[in-house]
């Protein structure tokens, strides 16, 4: 036990890698009959929303800015990826690069405009942007297929190997682990420290020589790029997208992911994505009487957001604190007894 703890403490990456390995065992578990086929789809959903969540966490958790355009940028990324791979027949990796960098460029322009003004304007400005993007998705039907939607395939690597669902799932787990390690690195470095200072007090940050606009823009750019990447993963796993799916409600759900999972925690978005997108599908629908209620998932998420903000600002994981306290007390008592016995 001590030995295992040592491995995780000396190298924090091992924690993420271990999690990734555990996650990529899920398709095998399905083949062995331990998991349902639909469970795999739900877990895949959790993975790509985790990626989006990690990005938004950088913006909301570490820099204290709210964006409501997440779903719009995610949609932009996914439509780009679908168009580039299906209609233009571009190689998979090239399409990923293009469909992340175009939303990123759009996001940076919007950030440049709205970040010059007070913080709470960003939420409203991005809300307007997501409306514009929704209109674009409906009207530009050569790119997006309009109301009827757009379909895509599982990723085809190097033009030869077309993955099936199991391998796409494993690929997504690898992407999630890479994203977590990358984010862990820059959050625990100069950039992350600048974000935290900025969140604490903008004036203090300015006085320390932190360029506010630059770091705000960096945070917004990271959030946008991760959202687009999440969209790319979405379209190659679910293989279908339609305009009304990228609504403000989705942006709110992604925001809920971070709030519920715990802001300023690397694993927060993963926990949050499982609670917001996994629990209603996997658990709430199995409970007999309440499963028939319409809008149950929304009520569950809404109540959790409010409760977490009011009582557990560090995320839903704190709900387990009483249990943790109990275990620690139990251990202490045991140690005391032991020492008493030893003394005698």
């Amino acid at each position: 036990m001590e030995h295992i703890k040592k491995i995780f403490n000396t190298k924090p990456y091992n924690y993420y890698i271990f999690f990734g390995i555990l996650l990529s065992l899920a398709p095998t578990a399905q083949q062995l009959g331990l998991l349902n086929s639909s469970t795999i789809i739900v877990l895949g959903t959790v993975i790509f929303y985790s990626v989006v969540g990690v990005g938004l966490n950088v913006l909301l958790g570490y820099s204290g800015l709210i964006s409501l355009g997440t779903a719009g940028f995610m949609g932009l990324g996914s439509y780009m990826a679908a168009y580039l791979t299906v209609d233009m027949n571009l190689p998979y990796f090239l399409s990923v690069i293009i469909s992340v960098s175009i939303p990123l460029a759009v996001g940076l322009v919007i950030g440049l405009i709205s970040l010059r003004i007070q913080g709470y304007y960003l939420a409203i400005a991005t809300l307007g942007v997501s409306e514009i993007l929704k209109q674009v998705f409906i009207e530009m039907d050569t790119l997006t297929g309009g109301f009827s939607g757009k379909s895509a395939f599982y990723p085809k690597i190097f033009g030869l190997l077309e993955l099936n669902r199991q391998f796409t799932f494993i690929g997504m787990s690898i992407v999630l682990v890479l994203i977590l390690i990358f984010s862990h690195n820059f959050i625990n470095a100069r950039t992350g420290r600048a974000f935290l200072t900025m969140r604490g007090s903008e004036s203090a940050a300015k006085a320390m020589g932190i360029n506010l606009l630059k770091y705000k823009l960096t945070a917004f750019g990271i959030a946008t790029a991760y959202a687009a990447l999440g969209g790319v993963l979405y379209i190659h796993f679910i293989r279908f997208a339609y305009p009304s799916g990228w609504s403000v409600t989705l942006s709110l759900q992604i925001l809920a992911v971070i709030v519920i999972g715990g802001m300023r925690k690397m694993n927060g978005p993963v926990i949050g994505a499982f609670i917001v997108f996994g629990v209603p599908e996997l658990i709430l629908k199995q409970i007999p009487i309440i499963s028939g209620i319409d809008g149950l998932a929304y009520i569950f998420t809404g109540v959790l957001i409010i409760v977490v903000i009011l009582f557990y600002p560090d995320g839903v994981i704190d709900l387990l604190n009483p249990i943790k306290d109990y275990i620690e007390k139990y251990k202490e008592n045991k140690n005391e007894e032991k020492s008493l016995l030893d003394n005698q």
Partner: protein, 291 residues
């Protein structure tokens, strides 16, 4: 000319809807320093209550609207008592997030109580129209415009001339000083939530005949109301209301004269650009933040 007049009247009607929602948002912003994103959802849920009363209790349209507004008033009080009062110490960003939580909550509760199918709510005045130099305006349209204007004027008189209006303005300017001066700020904040919810419901009911009562009926109004606040500036009560009417008008003009598909998008872009040049809005005052 008659086309322009026609556009003007329809803009005044949509402007009234936006202005009512905007007024709710700005009252809450001024008294409790939070941008209320749940204004539309509050209105949506209580519009369902009004429609439910109309269908099941067989009452007059006006009585149904009144029931809806009373239930909105109570919802506002409950939201303040149960949630907002305990959120005094959380940061402004977290307060915003609480209103996002409220949106999700109402999105879930409305279909749970009233079903998922859209309901229809009739006009206040069912038929009849007059023609003003070539432009035809329904009686209902005139009714909506005048109710909107009447409520605006009544509220501004209330804010400027009465003792309670003074209490609201004092709370808006500095809550702690207001408390020291013996202003019951808790009651003021609660009243703000209640009135805002009732205004949102009225806006929803004015809109309802055109688009039916459904879960997403107020999404568009919510966005336009928030943008009206940005356009008018958050520092005054009347700025955002003015912004709401401007948005109503310029939206219709852009949609009619420029492009029917991209008019909306163009308006948002224009306002974004406008904000770059006047960050505090049309009537915003630039006040210096102390550290």
């Amino acid at each position: 000319m008659s086309i322009f007049l026609q556009l003007l009247f329809s803009s005044l009607e949509t402007g009234s809807v936006y202005a009512l929602a905007t007024l709710g948002i700005i009252i809450i912003f001024r008294t409790s320093r939070m941008t209320n994103f749940a204004q539309g959802s509050l209105g949506m849920m209580n519009a369902f209550v009004a429609t439910f009363a109309l269908i099941n209790l067989n009452v007059n349209v006006f009585v149904a609207a009144f029931i809806g507004m009373i239930s909105a008033f109570i919802t506002g009080v409950v939201v303040d008592l149960v949630i907002m009062r305990h959120a005094k110490r959380v940061s402004p960003v977290s307060k915003q997030i609480i209103t996002f939580g409220l949106i999700m909550l109402f999105l879930g509760i409305a279909p749970m109580l009233f079903g998922t199918s859209p309901l229809s709510f009739p006009r206040f005045i069912s038929e009849g129209s007059i023609s003003i130099s070539g432009a035809s305006v329904t009686y209902n349209g005139i009714f909506n415009i005048s109710v909107g204007l009447f409520i605006m004027i009544a509220l501004f008189v209330f804010l400027k001339k009465t003792k309670w209006g003074l209490a609201v303005r004092v709370t808006a300017s500095n809550e702690e000083t207001a408390q020291l001066m013996g202003v019951p700020t808790k009651l003021v904040t609660m009243g703000a939530w209640a009135v805002a919810a009732a205004l949102g419901t009225l806006a929803a009911l004015m809109l309802a005949p055109a688009i039916t009562v459904n879960v997403s009926m107020m999404d568009n109004v919510q966005i336009n109301a928030l943008i009206a606040c940005v356009l008018g500036g958050f520092q005054t009560f009347y700025g955002p209301v003015l912004g709401a009417y401007i948005i109503g008008l310029s939206k219709n003009l852009l949609i009619y004269y420029v492009s029917s598909t991209w008019g909306n998008a163009l308006l948002y872009i224009l306002i974004l650009v406008f904000i770059v040049f006047r960050p505090n809005g049309l009537i915003g005052k630039n006040y210096i933040k102390k550290v």
